[in-house]
């Protein structure tokens, strides 16, 4: 089995290096095909591992080699394939294989085709390390690795100022969170003496709860960055500057869920500190609503989906925070499928629309983009959580969890958010595919994507539809390592009321969205309509002014402070004081050199003056010695010791 593990882990790396070989040369198809094949290999290996696990095989745990060993610290490159990581592996390999194949089509005309695949496969490799590592340090390697690849992919079109800016923003925001993660890791090490998951978690119950709380908080700070939780969320929307497959893979399906994965992985820790869990859940609920609200009015197709992702991540954190780790993981998986699908669909639309992102400028695309229309609609249905699509099983479960755990506020927030989700999803679908063909105004002639692209997307479509049916199998599998809490509403009646109620609410929202946006009266807004001038619209469309606040009150002051530090502190204080000392010495020399006037008489006077000065000192001293007793007397009289 170890062989499969290594194959699953390293084939993306090989793919990446292979593509990197061609990075500087013009597009060659092979640079895209080979990594895709290798990823498929990885997927196959992962599947074999999954089958092994499902069939009751042992958890595969290998230690490849020592990484860092000094003092008491011992960090190996260790990998574990257990029920949790295999779930993640499957998600990652499936989605990434799809995205790779999709990208061959999507990036067809890009001159940096080869480079794209190098980055993309490198990302998959990092993600695999992240999920397969058996220790915190390995997790951190993957953590940073995905950050790096995310930077490279967001900024892939580096000639675009906005893209590079977004790349840097994403990296730096993640770095802020990574610091928290790093501190969390330090805490783990100094309190447990190891960074291995199993050993560390084994020691944790014996630790002081304050320490555990800090540990939990700092690790979660790490998770917040990667999963773009408030207040570190702004990068995710901006990250949509990257090519769409990237958004699908990284900013929807895999990387952003790493935070959830971390919390799930550290479940023994969070179980010990339920108050932190509650905080996580509350934050998750808040983010779910907060992000959904921003998605309501946005006019950028990808950003809408990104906010939706953010919102769904909030759901996952609610589940994870409330101790329903398997639920979180389940929703993670389901979400990965339909959200990736949604993004890839959006990619098709963009392609067809020559990178136009404003859905108001589209409309009526269902004819030219028939398949895309179908896929996106189904994905949106899944996202909205309509039975029997994947979203229903996972999302409703989270609602149930919050209800059962008696967190009614969270429940109501989530419920409301579910409605919003349905609304904005279908607002998007309606705007893009229904109504008048507004795109014609812009002289665009949209075409459906390549066939193989559509075929490549189909596994995701299937999974988005049927993933819910794996629920029980999945439950049985992961609860081998996760707390096996079954969430059943006690009363059947309540359950049905709840479920049907939710479904109705969601359907209503969808209907409302269609009614409002699927008609022919929609025009491209130009900032004059009444709605656009409403305060709440402005707040929402400006993302609660948070990016503005960050720019004005953090970035700008930082830049200015840096300038001040350099120009005023470093140059004018620190350096100037050093030079000042030198200048004082020099100018003293310059001033006193007049003593050497070259005049003999002056020289003689100096000599005599020197002697006279010495004589005066001698007299003072001589008198002091002679009258030392009297002087002492006077001093003691004055009270001087």
């Amino acid at each position: 089995m170890e062989l499969y593990l290594y194959i699953a882990l390293f084939s993306p790396l090989v793919g990446s290096l292979f593509a990197a070989l061609f990075a500087a040369s013009p597009k060659s198809l092979i640079a895209g095909v080979v990594p895709s094949l290798l990823l498929f290999t990885s997927f196959v290996a992962s599947t074999i591992l999954l089958v092994n696990i499902l069939s009751g095989g042992d958890i595969v745990h290998v230690e490849m080699m020592t990484w860092i060993a000094t003092g008491n610290l011992y960090i190996p490159f260790g990998f574990v394939v257990d029920q949790v990581s295999i779930t993640m592996m499957m998600v990652v390999t499936v989605v990434s294989t799809v995205v790779h194949v999709y990208s061959i089509g999507y990036m067809d005309h890009d001159k940096s085709f080869n480079r794209f695949f190098a980055w993309l496969s490198a990302f998959v490799f990092s993600m695999m390390i992240l999920v397969m590592s058996d220790n915190f340090a390995g997790l951190f390697i993957g953590w940073e690795g995905v950050g790096l690849c995310s930077w490279g992919l967001i900024g892939f079109w580096y000639h675009k100022e906005s893209a590079t800016w977004a790349a840097n923003e994403a990296f730096i925001m993640n770095r802020i969170a990574d610091l928290g993660m790093l501190i969390g890791i330090f805490l783990v090490y100094w309190n447990t003496g190891t960074l291995q998951y199993d050993e560390a978690f084994a020691v944790m119950p014996a630790l002081n709860s304050e320490i555990l709380t800090w540990m939990g908080i700092f690790l979660f700070v790490g998770a917040m960055g990667k999963s773009a939780q408030f207040p570190l969320h702004t990068w995710l929307a901006d990250a949509m500057e990257g090519p769409t497959p990237v958004s699908a893979l990284i900013h929807a399906a895999t990387m952003v869920t790493a935070g959830v994965y971390l919390v799930v992985r550290a479940n023994p820790l969070y179980d010990l500190i339920p108050h932190v869990g509650l905080f996580i859940a509350s934050l998750g609920a808040f983010v779910a609503l907060f992000a959904a609200s921003m998605a309501l009015v946005n006019r950028d197709m990808k950003r809408i989906i990104a906010y939706s992702t953010l919102s769904q991540l909030g759901y996952m954190f609610v589940a994870a925070g409330l101790g329903a780790y398997w639920v979180a993981l389940f929703h993670l998986m389901a979400h990965a499928f339909f959200k990736a699908l949604l993004f890839l669909g959006a990619g098709n639309v963009m392609h067809a629309m020559h990178d136009e992102l404003d859905p108001f400028k589209m409309g009526g695309l269902k004819k030219p983009l028939k398949w895309t229309f179908i896929m996106m609609t189904l994905a949106s249905v899944a996202l909205a959580g309509i039975y029997p699509f994947a979203g229903f099983f996972s999302k409703d479960l989270i609602l149930e969890v919050s209800l059962i755990e008696h967190h009614y506020i969270i429940y109501s927030v989530l419920l409301f958010t579910a409605g919003l989700t349905a609304f904005y999803s279908f607002r998007l679908v309606a705007l893009i595919f229904h109504g008048e063909e507004r795109y014609k105004l812009f002289g665009i002639d949209p075409h459906e994507a390549y066939k193989f692209v559509l075929i490549a997307m189909s596994p995701l479509l299937i999974l988005a539809i049927i993933a819910g049916s794996f629920k029980m199998t999945y439950f049985e599998m992961v609860t081998a390592v996760l707390p096996a809490t079954q969430y059943h509403v006690h009363s059947v009646v309540t359950y049905w009321i709840m479920t049907i109620g939710t479904q109705l609410f969601v359907l209503l929202a969808i209907a409302f969205a269609y009614k409002k946006y699927a008609n022919n009266r929609i025009t491209v807004p130009n900032g004059t309509s009444k709605m656009e001038n409403r305060l709440c619209y402005k707040i929402l469309s400006n993302q609660y002014y948070i990016p503005y606040v960050y720019e004005e009150y953090i970035s700008k002051p930082y830049r200015e402070l840096s300038e001040v530090f350099w120009k005023h502190v470093d140059m004018k204080v620190v350096d100037a004081s050093v030079d000042g000392i030198a200048n004082i010495i020099y100018s003293t020399g310059e001033k006193t050199r007049t003593m050497q006037s070259g005049n003999l008489s002056t020289m003689l006077k100096w000599m005599v003056a020197g002697t006279v000065a010495l004589l005066s000192l001698a007299v003072v001293f001589g008198l002091a010695v002679r009258y030392s007793d009297e002087i002492k007397l006077i001093f003691s009289g004055l009270g001087v010791q």
């Binding site: 000599m607 020197g610 002697t611 001589g622």
Partner: protein, 502 residues
């Protein structure tokens, strides 16, 4: 009626006189040759002087042997005193003189070397310094000092241009004042103790337990004035830069070493017993003098635009530095003093010789003084070997290891540390840093600037002959490989200093 005096020749210990007599004989010899057959070439006199100096060195070695066996020797009615200090300082005096004399063999002709009298006076001067260091009798010190000084004034003036006359007159006048101070100081101590021998003065003062502190201090002030003048302590230093500038570079280098060591020996003999017997005032004053001399002259050296003047101020600073040895007054510090001065003489003579070989008779238009910094700009491009050698001397003077002077500084600062003069040690160290600034300035000019247009390639060696090059090579080797000779040197010095009771 007076008794007739019977003196046995053995009791006179005439051997103690031999080292001083040799240069006197040599000088007379030169004068006689000149009378018998005038117009002989300077090379003859150079070589004669060298021979006599070598003989002198032999005689000193002889007395060193005697000292090693018998310890301190007094001779000729106890006026002459051969102890470790005398031997070490005479070695330095004669050694430096040996290095100096061949510098007369320049390529260009300079006025002074065309006189045989120059060499005669030079040898007389050496004997004067030797007398100065080999006695503890203030009278002989005074007479020796004046003999040497008068000869030196003349040697400076014989360079025969306006600046050298000016220098000689300045030096002479201030020297006369210093002589007044010396005699006054001696008078005070004579009044106090009825003796003009330093040992005697020390023991009488100790016996009376320094009852007349006031008088002692006044005497010390005047002695300090005159010795301070000789070793150029601030504010008695004012002659130094002008005289060095006025004299020929070779002589200036010589002056930075030999007259000073003679004065230092006197200072060592005179001040150390005072400090050791608890004349706190002197300790304080010397402390101040050392610090001020080091620091102030460093500052002045910084702002110079002429290399020779810079080196003049730098040698003031070095003098201040070693004056600390006398302040500290331990065996280690006194050994450090000799070590420092030996290493310094190599380096400084080397540096001045480098100036000497580049001395032009007529200054080009862009040059305001003989050795302005500009002249050396871009030297590495024109004359790399010379630049590297000059650079080595500068680094050594700055105290960059492992060049010669570093070891002197190291041992000196160590002696300060060992005796608890921590702050002084720090000041000494920091002053080395200031000093590095101006040595570096020359290096910057030589290595980092573009050459001045109009400077010929050979301007840096315009005066060079084999003899001069040999001397410079010798100094350079000494500077670079000082480390090799350090241990025997240190042991030798320490033994001699220790056995002389210092």
């Amino acid at each position: 009626m007076l008794e007739p005096v019977n003196v046995s020749l053995e009791s006179l210990n005439l051997m103690t006189l031999a080292p001083m007599l040799i240069p006197i004989i040599g000088a007379l010899f030169i004068l006689i040759i000149d009378i018998v057959k005038p117009n002989l070439d300077k090379t003859l006199y150079v070589m004669l002087s060298l021979l006599f100096l070598l003989l002198d060195l032999g005689a000193i070695a002889e007395s060193a042997g005697i000292f090693a066996v018998n310890g301190t020797v007094m001779g000729v009615f106890d006026v002459m005193l051969i102890d470790g200090l005398a031997i070490l300082s005479q070695l330095i005096i004669v050694g430096a003189s040996l290095l100096f004399i061949p510098l007369a063999l320049t390529h260009s002709r300079f006025h002074e070397f065309s006189y045989p009298e120059f060499f005669a006076l030079f040898l007389f001067m050496i004997s004067g310094f030797q007398f100065m260091v080999a006695t503890d009798n203030l009278i002989l010190i005074f007479v020796g000092l004046e003999t040497a000084s008068l000869a030196l004034y003349t040697l400076i003036a014989m360079h025969n241009r306006d600046k050298s006359f000016e220098a000689a007159v300045k030096y002479f006048t201030m020297g006369a004042l210093a002589a007044g101070f010396f005699s006054f100081g001696s008078m005070v101590f004579y009044a106090l103790t009825g003796s003009v021998e330093i040992n005697q003065i020390a023991s009488v003062l100790a016996a009376s337990n320094y009852a007349d502190m006031g008088y002692v201090l006044v005497g010390t002030v005047f002695m300090l004035g005159s010795i301070g003048f000789k070793v150029s302590l601030v504010p008695f230093h004012t002659w130094t830069p002008d005289v060095y500038e006025g004299a020929s570079a070779a002589l200036a280098g010589y002056m930075s070493i030999v007259p000073k060591i003679a004065a230092f020996i006197v200072a060592m003999r005179f001040f150390e017993f005072l400090i050791h017997s608890g004349v706190v005032w002197l300790e304080v004053i010397l402390y101040i003098a050392v610090v001020v001399t080091m620091t102030a002259s460093n500052m002045w050296a910084l702002v110079q635009s002429d290399v020779k003047r810079m080196l003049a101020y730098s040698s003031i600073s070095h003098a201040g530095f070693v004056m600390a040895a006398i302040l500290i007054g331990t065996t280690q510090s006194n050994s450090a003093f000799f070590l420092y001065w030996i290493l310094f003489s190599f380096t400084n003579l080397g540096a001045f010789s480098m100036l000497w070989i580049s001395r032009q008779k007529h200054l080009p238009n862009h040059q305001r003084t003989d050795h302005s910094y500009d002249k050396f700009a871009g030297m590495i491009k024109k004359s790399p070997v010379a630049a590297v050698i000059m650079g080595l001397f500068m680094l050594s003077l700055a105290g960059v290891p492992p060049f010669a002077l570093f070891w002197g500084k190291l041992y000196m600062i160590s002696s300060a540390v060992t005796s608890g003069y921590t702050v002084l040690a720090l000041i000494m160290a920091l002053n080395s840093a200031i000093a590095a600034y101006y040595y570096l300035k020359l290096i910057v000019y030589m290595f980092m600037k573009e050459p001045v247009t109009g400077n010929h390639e050979h301007v840096y060696a315009i005066n060079a002959t084999l003899a001069l090059k040999t001397i410079i090579g010798f100094a350079a080797i000494g500077t670079v490989f000082a480390l090799v000779a350090l241990n025997p040197l240190l042991e030798f010095i320490t033994t001699f200093v220790y056995n002389s009771g210092y």
